[in-house]
Amino acid sequence: MIFTQRNQPPSARSLGLGGCEVCGLVSRLPSANPPLNYLQLCARCHSPLHSRKNKSLSRSWALLVTAYLLYIPANMLPIMDTSSLFNAQRDTIMSGIIYLWQSGSWSLALLVFFASIVTPLFKMITLTFLLLSIQFKNAWHPLQRTKLYRFLHSIGRWSMLDIYMVAILVTLVQVKSLTVIKASPGALAFAAVVVLTMLAVETFDPRLLWDSVLAQNNQLQKKFHIDNEKALKEQHE
């Protein structure tokens, strides 16, 4: 039995080419792993050319791990101190949502819940999954994973909602009135989580998702070639 060669879609890298990240011009890139301190500039826009984003994996991991660590204080520490003449109250993100729910505006409570609790968690877990899948050279459904990456990219910003809400409340409810609201360290930690996850998604290179598919295809092809040769030999004999 003779195996036919699989048609492989040409990735720019496999042909020794690369698109400029700034202007999109496709240029020749001498090697996939350039030597240290080697820098090639785009002929049209003079930006540094990389076949893949520079050290994408390790940078994403570093940012993501930091975000995980800061996620704990972000949720445990209060993000807002409310003090009036009679009582003082400290609000974490969750207690703010519970307050909204109890005061009857459950739609707003859901909105804030999704923006501040679900989104950051979902983002961190999904990014972990994507990074692990690259690390283990998994070729499982690259298109679905790319779509997941795009989704992460589009929702990440909405987690900043809580920070802005605190910032506006703090400004509106000032010393002049009897109640004073202050931003607390939790807000800072939470803002850091959001910024770090946004940066992690930014440094993540979705093209790496497709590289493992290519590598697997290459392996398959090698196997096909070997099998073909075996089959041919057997036929000759």
């Binding site: 690259p142 790319t146 900043m160 009135s177």
Partner: protein, 203 residues
Amino acid sequence: MLPALLIACNQCDLLQYEVKLVEGEKACCSRCNALLYKNTAPHYNQEIAFTVSAIIMLIIANMFPIATIIVQGQVIDATLFDIIQTLAMQQQNSLALLVFITLLLAPTVELLAMAYLLMQLKWGWPKHYITQAYRLRLSVKTWVLTDVFMLGVLVDLVKLTPIVTVKVGIAVWALGGLIILLTALSQAFDTRKMWSQIDFHST
């Protein structure tokens, strides 16, 4: 094959040929469906109109209060600048910086860079610092969080309404306009068209 006619998808690295599009059409990657380029109107009139009006909206959004509350006869205004000032006064400098960058600096830089690029493209001026301006725009684009802020304002207004008298300020309308204009601008502007009009060795 001219290198300018080749296109490598920036999300999956698939190498493809550029095809001619009718005005208003978009080209997407045949493997991962990411947007590659689009055919927009040949002149930059739309983009310029959006940029100029967005700059005006940004100025209005910064000059007028976002909300006003009235407590026991006292009137408290909050402009964007007040928010930054209050956070800085409460020793929350990093939060103040974050608000400053995402709501003031990033939109301003994006719009100014855009205006600079468009002027050079529209009137065929000698092209200086195109790459720098474009990369500046690319790097700040993610950090324009005006739409998130708008949602925050609305949630806060609903939260405060039962407790005190709150008035929506002019800045909220300007912010709404700014969000729509920024979206329209990024829809109308095509990177690939811009770069195809820039000669090699002129950057």
